[in-house]
Symmetry: C2
Subunit: 267 residues, 2 copies
């Protein structure tokens, strides 16, 4: 089993509850990597037999620190329309809601289409060196980061020089994995905090809430097979303990797969 499938797997306990476990393999500062938490909540909906269509959007709120060990996932269908379906999901640990999500699934249909956004022009992934995998956070070594623009610097402290908040990079799983909504949801959170890029140093900061919109269906994702996606990330503002970040994920053949935004707290 791929480490990402292991990290996001859910089983039904004897009591009937849906249960998972915080992943050591994807550990971050003081908790599992948020992208894996988001993908775990997504899996709880993906595995529902009464699901309608494919994921269209997800908002995940990281409401408390997730400790090592088991957690329960509670899934509630909110509303099923003709072509759009809404879900509410909670991740609970010892009666604390440690994450929750609203997820929208939808049946897509052929319509007029228009793609005004285009990916930046960057060298192909094989022409860009991967970032060394020597982070103290385990999750980093589960992925490959090839920065074409706006690399991360890991200076001991902020030197007062303001760097760009924007990065363009090729992102992939360290162990190849075919694309699906588990992978795509995970990768929506795979952009380092823009504050690290601006300050040139890395320190604990926590995503408060993340939203992703998907612009592809399951068949379109499966057709990609495995291989790197092009990520573009940026930020608007850092103020009074919170900054935003926005990102896009593009297939290597220039198709926009997901757009995502998050709000992050820092000290």
């Amino acid at each position: 089993m791929h480490p990402l499938d292991q990290a996001t797997s859910l089983y039904v306990s004897n009591s009937g509850a849906l249960r998972g476990s915080a992943s050591d393999a994807y550990w971050n500062f003081g908790g599992p990597f948020g992208g894996v938490t988001a993908a775990t909540l997504m899996r709880a909906v993906l595995e529902r037999e009464d699901r309608l269509g494919d994921p269209c959007s997800i908002t995940v709120n990281f409401t408390a620190a997730i400790a090592k060990g088991a957690f329960d996932v509670v899934v509630r269908p909110i509303r099923t329309g003709k072509s759009v379906q809404h879900w509410y999901v909670e991740l609970r640990q010892d009666d604390v809601v440690a994450a929750n999500a609203t997820i929208v699934c939808a049946k897509r249909r052929p319509t007029w289409a228009h793609r005004p956004a285009t990916p930046p022009s960057v060298p192909p992934p094989q022409a860009v060196e991967p970032m060394p995998n020597d982070s103290r956070n385990a999750f980093v070594s589960q992925f490959e980061f090839r920065f074409a623009e706006g690399p991360i610097e890991r200076n001991p402290a902020f030197d007062g020089k303001l760097r760009s908040a924007r990065s363009c990079l090729w992102l992939d799983n360290a162990v190849p994995r075919d694309w699906d909504f588990i992978g795509l949801t995970t990768f929506c959170d795979l952009f380092f905090g823009r504050i690290f890029h601006v300050q040139g140093t890395v320190f604990p900061a926590a995503t408060v809430s993340m939203t992703a919109y998907f612009h592809v269906d399951a068949a379109g994702l499966a057709a990609l097979g495995c291989g790197p996606l092009l990520g573009v990330a940026d930020a608007h503002v850092f103020t009074t303990g919170f900054f935003d970040q926005t990102a896009q994920l593009w297939s290597s053949d220039s198709r926009l797969l997901a757009t995502t935004t998050q709000i992050v707290t820092y000290r």
Copy 2:
């Protein structure tokens, strides 16, 4: 009472339920304007005595059509941390969840700040003609729209010519109103569907989910008084029945107040 306060007001019914009513004054295609629905759910949290700090983010899902008449609002505190608090809110009509929201409130604190995003350079509001207020949707006449760039065209049908998805415009209440989180939440949804701008024609389309991040606190908003905000909106992709849109709201003194994104369904 200002029409927006009337439209978003909530009272406690004899049964103890929090109750509001769908606003005729802000009626849109087949339901109340989504910005007012979002602001109503925001009000349910703003009026809580156990609220911590000011709104930091909101995701609203428009889960079913809202009919004329009364609705109930159910508010659930999910998790209160030291400085961040999470809420879940539902709007119900006849046992149907017609909208739900996750809302994050937070105590902001002085920190290092950085504002890499800047507003576009546009003429001042008084130099831009307001759009004629002759829409068949009542909510439009509650506001003033002054397009500096990317105006809306209302041709009888799409002529095949692709226009820009981007607009810059001054937005205000038709009846002046001091800024607060009710107003700011409402205005996050005040950008016409980008598909109308691209096609140059207006037709029913429905927001499925909207997320907004706030980059100002209550005191900062109150200090603005009333007056127009500068809005900038754009879109990445229109495909298989769904398009995204992104927007920023800036104060007239160039302060970024909110960033927002939504996913919209079309035929």
